[in-house]
Amino acid sequence: MGILIDKNTRVLVQGITGREGSLQTGQMIDFGTNIVGGVTPGKGGSFVHERPVFDSVNEALKETDANASVIFVPPQFATDSIFEAIDNGIELIVCITEGIPIHDMMRVWPYLKTSSARLLGPNCPGITTPSASKIGIMPNQIHKPGNIGVVSRSGTLTYEIVDMLSKNDIGQSTSVGIGGDPVNGTSFVDILELFEDDPETHGVVMVGEIGGTAEEESIEFIKQMSKPVISYIVGVFAPPGKTMGHAGAIISMGVGTALEKIQAFEKAGISVAKSPSDIVQLVKNSL
């Protein structure tokens, strides 16, 4: 079963005619995702991977019954696409775009809160429920159905961990990337709550990194969870004041070091893995 998406999720691709949008649409279709169409202003009436392209989300919804969207729009236009999806009642919006100005995301956040939409990302790899649906860009071949939920701020590190879990015969209920930006739509706690309520999920792997306090904010909730949570936090070596690739991965004003986070987790009695292979071991021990 997993969380947020299933076989019935009907996905619209915003930015479907772009290089990445069209490539990833093909990959999602191969995975089994129900892609119902796409949107690119000015390209309405054309087709990508045999899926109809519309000029707007509004027009797409007249012809399709999409309830989720994935955004592959360049950063200067991406928040406009998010607003368009919110205004048209899309329930789940997954924003892959990296490089959106933080002031734009600050304006999206309070608007999002007045709607019932959920935004995953931006700057995230998306969400995958093996054997059901994938919205985003995670490689198709790494997943294996099972009972471990994965939630992470990273992209490729998530792939490495999911791949390693699968190769060790530990399947996943759902894998979620919440994104590497400082202002994002969905937090660790939001996803942990969903995993806690999902009968298919028996344990969770949570991958954090330097910057901000999103990891620490999840500690109180993890302590109340009935399911084991294995955490892994990267960036121990990171010098202060430098952005480590992700816009959100920066130790600023002394806040957000990996060591601080690791110590806070250990103090709360939450398992912290030392390496990807250690995650596998800790997951095996916890089940």
Partner: protein, 367 residues
């Protein structure tokens, strides 16, 4: 992107936030000439780092000759590794009181926060640690902007007698913050003088993601960070001996942590970003190997958008020129093609981040 004090103050001035009269000079004669027009001046090193005062990068001068000799001394300095190329010559203003005013982004609340303290002239981190009760913080709703009552509250916490002037400055600084896509804007100290309230220092950090719509040009420094950025990659120099090239920020941080666990020290962080092509991989190798401390290089790729055969192509193009041992890990999209291409060159291959990290530390030690 950080702005120099003089650049931040130019922006303040456009928004009618009072600043002292000044001129920017790059030689001691210029300093002398400016001081002759201004009278008593302060000479301030223009560098993109804090702690100038403690390092001796700020001096007061009461005569043009004094200004000249101080400017000469400061222009020869290097502060925390930043050479001083320019100094700001500024009219001296006697502060009656030094305050702090800053605006940044509260990541937890996802909105701007204005911070004010009647105690200024020292780092906000220090005020927060020693006398947090002195800091007034007001969160601003991004969709409404700052309300009059919020500005009044902040102004009253700074200096009740000068509230009207301060309300005006606070509202203008909020405009500076919004219009320029700031991550941080700071006036420290914001001084009360006999002629009114004035910004004696200025600091601005602009969101790199917003530079496409802002008119700031970055000065060329010739650094490896800059070379990487121009090629769509992200590089941070560190002081170890293992060069690192990884796709994805999280995986890159994990790789560096693993190198440390196996007893090595990373020479750099490098994220080649998703979808890197052969040319970018080649450039990445050029950048990383140009650091003379590098004894071995790890290339760690988990291909999603990035294709392993493209990565292999980039490596092969430059491999013969690089005299540094390499460990390459290729997983994900087109991994078999990529590995097969590298097979004939005798490059050390690894199948996981941990194996690659262990391997590269071993090579580093034996090289």
């Amino acid at each position: 992107m950080k702005l120099y004090e003089y650049a931040a103050k130019e922006i303040f001035s456009k928004y009618d936030i009072p600043i002292p009269g000044s001129s920017l000079v790059s030689d001691a004669d210029g300093a002398e000439e400016s001081a002759r027009k201004m009278g008593e001046v302060v000479i301030k090193a223009q560098v993109l780092t804090g702690g100038r005062g403690k390092a001796g990068g700020i001096a007061r001068a009461s005569s043009p000759e004094d200004a000249k000799s101080n400017a000469k001394r400061i222009l020869g300095m290097s502060i925390k590794g930043f050479p001083v190329k320019k100094v700001l010559i500024e009219e001296y203003r006697e502060p009656i009181k030094e305050m702090y005013l800053g605006i940044t982004i509260d990541r937890k609340k996802k909105c701007p926060v204005i911070m004010a303290s009647p105690q200024g002239g020292i780092d906000i981190e220090e005020i927060a640690k020693n006398s947090p009760e002195n800091i007034t913080m007001v969160h601003i709703h991004p969709l409404t902007g700052i309300h009059e009552y919020q500005a009044r509250m902040l102004a009253n916490s700074l200096d009740r007698d000068k509230a009207r002037e301060l309300i005006d400055i606070i509202k203008k600084l909020y405009r500076v913050f919004i219009d320029n896509d700031c991550q941080l804007v700071e006036i420290n100290p914001l001084a009360r003088t006999k002629d009114g309230i004035i910004a004696l220092d200025g600091k601005m950090v602009i969101d790199d993601n917003a530079l496409f719509r802002q008119d700031f040009s970055e000065e060329e420094t010739g650094s490896l960070e800059e070379a990487a950025r121009k090629n769509g990659m992200s590089y941070v120099g560190l002081d170890g001996e293992i060069g690192c090239i990884v796709n994805g920020a999280g995986l890159a941080m994990a790789t560096l942590d693993m190198i440390k666990q196996y007893g090595g020290t990373p020479a750099n962080f490098m994220d080649v970003r998703a979808g890197a092509n052969a040319q970018q991989v080649k450039t990445a190798l050029e950048i990383v190997s140009s650091n003379k401390n590098v004894k071995a290089i790890i290339i760690n790729i988990f291909g999603g958008l990035t294709k392993c055969d493209e990565v292999a192509k980039g490596i092969i193009e430059i491999f013969p020129e690089i005299k540094i041992p390499l460990v390459v890990r290729l997983s994900g999209t087109n991994e078999l093609e990529g590995r097969a291409m590298l097979g004939k060159y005798g490059i050390h291959m690894a199948s996981s981040t941990e194996e690659a990290a262990k391997g590269v530390v071993g090579l580093g030690h034996s090289n």
